[in-house]
């Protein structure tokens, strides 16, 4: 089964060809993954820059740093950059692109050209949106609620919406590519229940992307039609219904939360098993849980609308369904914890991120129960409690998992190891900084501070100052990894094919892998995470 050939002279996917053309016209999933890595990192720092300005403004109750107009653009563009251009593509487009074919024992994705097209669509959508942001920006909130967005905002609504519309096709094509690849390109012996949970999570995510993103496209198209041609769809002054917009928007945007967090769950399953040297606890439950979340995630959108004026009985149905979706999430957290039982846990950087994910996702999930509870939601919705909750899920969860994955597969992608001491240090300050930033916001929310306020009553100041202090630590926690990861590229490629002694087909190749991944198609004879067997063999 071993196909590793430590031939230092063998060309890898990076050294296989040189020149800008060889990158811009590449069909290699691994090169496309790196293109995405660079592009989404750019958007992450754009979105982060907006966040820094917001947190600075919120240090005082008065509006002394930026005006209302500016602040409204900041939170809108922060949300758009982070959600549509960083979080949604993050793990699928970078780690999924790089690893899915390798985990399946394939040479590439099913449609390599389509994969390259996805990246170009991302870049066109991104460039267009950036252009719209620079030339005036947009102030509708990332939720684009009507009739404000169609009849009242004087900002660049249509250009931004067009950018996101184009971006949506990038998502859809990636999802399609992953689904076909998972169905058709698994190595011999790699049955569905031998798939790593990372593959399951990518698969579930792709299904959501494929089914939900077209609805976003339709919604944004209708929004554009109403804004440009004054056709009454959502604006009651033109005979439309603003609640219809909310239904359509959340029909995509709630499942989008799972597009962002399911891939991280897949990463965490890989990390916990590797560094505990244990098979995953309850494999089939874990696989079933991601699929259950993907399905149930489509049935809970109305919990964003408990005070919107939708019927009381609709509210009750959506509340009940929202509690249901908590169960598979709870199952996952319990199973990760149980995987540690009787393991041999080694505290390397990636697993620290995984533990960070479990802790923060648990808080994010449990506070989700507060919001699913109807009468409590009435008080909490549209306050900082919601802001804190979704940052725990999407930053504490999704971004922690993404960074854990980057640290775990970095030696595979680049052939280099980073400085372990700095990496552990930054994982720690990320965790501390994150909690200091967002935990005070739960209290602010319960006290009643509404979100999207750039000025606020004085009694909220202390908690806001704490949050801003935390954000400065958090920002450092994102900049330090940038530095030591880039620094590691100066070192020789000495990571070796399998620095973590991990299972999984991707670790059978040299690091970095050759363009065709495998010299010989691997044959799979066992399930994933056979760490106990590895230990028994003295490896």
């Amino acid at each position: 089964m071993k196909t590793v050939n430590e031939d230092a002279l063998q060309k890898n996917y990076i050294t296989a060809a040189y020149g800008i053309r060889s990158w811009l016209l590449t069909r290699d999933h691994k090169r496309i993954a790196l293109l995405y890595l660079i592009s989404i990192t750019l958007f992450f720092f754009v979105g982060g820059f907006f966040a820094v300005l917001m947190r600075l403004e919120l240090m005082t109750p008065q509006g002394d740093l930026v005006s209302a107009e500016t602040y409204n653009r900041l939170f809108t563009m922060h949300g758009i950059a982070m959600i549509f251009f960083f979080l949604v593509p993050s793990i699928p487009a970078v780690l999924g692109n790089f690893l899915l074919p390798m985990m399946l024992g394939a040479r590439d994705l099913a449609f390599p050209r389509l994969n390259l097209l996805s990246w170009y669509l991302y870049m066109v959508g991104g460039a267009y949106t950036l252009y719209a942001m620079v030339t005036g920006g947009i102030d509708t909130g990332w939720t684009f609620y009507t009739p404000y967005s169609t009849g009242y905002s004087t900002t660049n609504v249509v250009p931004v919406v067009v950018g996101i519309f184009i971006l949506g096709f990038s998502s859809i094509l990636t999802g399609l590519n992953f689904i076909v690849t998972t169905h058709k390109m698994r190595a011999p012996g790699l049955t569905w229940f031998r798939l790593p949970l990372f593959v399951w999570s990518q698969y579930a995510t792709s299904v959501i992307i494929l089914l939900a993103t077209p609805v976003l496209a339709i919604t944004l198209a209708l929004l554009g039609v109403e804004r440009i041609f004054q056709v009454g769809i959502f604006d009651p002054a033109l005979g439309g219904d603003p609640i219809l917009f909310q239904h359509m928007f959340w029909f995509y945007s709630h499942p989008a939360v799972y597009i962002m967090v399911l891939p991280s769950m897949g990463v965490v399953s890989e990390l916990v098993t590797c560094f505990a040297r244990r098979r995953i606890f309850g494999y089939k439950f874990m696989a079933a849980a991601v699929m259950a979340i993907a399905v149930l995630g489509f049935l809970v959108w109305g919990h964003h609308m408990f005070v919107s004026g939708q019927s009381v009985y609709a509210g009750m149905a959506f509340s009940a369904l929202s509690f249901f979706v908590a169960i598979p999430s709870a199952v996952k957290v319990f199973n990760w914890t149980a995987t540690l039982h009787k393991g041999r846990i080694e505290f390397r950087t990636p697993v620290l991120y995984a533990f960070g994910f479990i802790g923060l996702f648990t808080i994010g999930g449990l506070t989700g129960l507060f919001l699913a509870t109807l009468a409590v939601n009435v008080h909490l919705t549209d306050t900082y409690f919601v802001v804190a909750h979704f940052h725990y899920i999407m930053v504490g969860g999704a971004v922690m998992g993404y960074l854990g994955g980057i640290h775990y597969w970095w030696p595979k992608m680049t052939g280099r190891m980073y400085h372990e001491g700095w990496a552990k240090f930054s994982a720690l300050i990320l965790f501390v900084g994150f909690n200091l930033t967002f935990f005070p916001q739960f209290i602010l929310g319960y006290l009643g501070m509404p979100r999207r306020y750039y000025i606020y009553p004085e009694e909220f100041q202390v908690l806001n100052v704490l949050s801003t202090a935390g954000a400065s630590i958090l920002g450092l926690g994102y900049i330090i990894p940038m530095i030591y990861l880039l620094w590691s590229l100066r070192k020789p490629r000495t990571a070796g094919p399998n620095p973590w002694n991990a299972t999984g087909l991707e670790w059978l190749t040299p690091s970095p892998p050759p363009t065709h991944n495998f010299d010989k198609t691997p044959i799979v004879t066992e399930g994933p995470y056979a760490y106990e067997e590895k230990s028994a063999n003295g490896e």
Partner: protein
Amino acid sequence: MWDFPLLPEAASSTAAEVDALFWLLIGVAAFFGGIITAGLVYFNIRYRKNSKASRAGAVSEHLPLELLWSIVPLVISAGIFGWGAKLYFDMHVPPEHAREVYVVAKQWMWKIQHPQGNREINELHVPVGVPIKLVMTSQDVIHSFFVPAFRVKQDVLPGRYTTTWFEATKPGEYHLFCAEYCGTSHASMKGRVVVMKQEEFERWLAGSRLAEPMTASGDQLFRQFGCVTCHSQTSQERGPSLHGLFGSTVRLADGSTVTADERYIRESILNPGGALVAGYKPLMPTYAQQMSQEQLFQIIEYIKSLGGPQIAGERKNP
């Protein structure tokens, strides 16, 4: 500087119950968060790489455990759901004798009308211990009426009426926020709710009255817009009489029935063809362009003053 609150003031009849449910949720979160944290810490110490703890008998599948940690959260969730849903339902149904106040939201202010004729901007004076029902609409974008101390929030939409209610339990002044982002000065669209003792409130009502009662303004509008020519009590040839209408059940031309509440009357004035009463021709023109939101509320208040259905108990809450 360090004198800052960690809990909001609780000043309405439902606030205490919402808080109780909130604390139950904190307990549940602490319980599950505690289990996970304890598990992570304990396993990480006991099974660290170089520890001598026995690894014999490790299992990776355990059906009873999986069922346990699926079913226990499900049962707890069901309980929390039930309590939350019941309270949510109560928060939607105002008591029969609630005092009504009309709210028009616009970018970026709250315009309040009391039936007695008092008008306020960004302030709402209410008596303590009396249920207040708010009938609200927006004249531009979506806003949201939020009083943290009452645990009350309800979106205010253009083109329709939404309602909510509360009963203040403590005299004082409380924040009123707009909670739904509504454009440039969203953060400035705030005001205060002033809760007064009953006598003080009556004094305020009498002292700050600048306009005639809403029924009188409505009566005047009813004649000014010519409503009276068709909807008189004597001749019911062209339109039905509005006496005894409010709260009654109306049979429509398409055979369906509808309760004549604020929403129905608003709809009938702005879009008369949409809810044609059985036995009448669609003669009435729309008044959508002529009437302001405030005037609509005044006409509704006037129609209410014409009395409700005779049969007690038939009136339904919207």
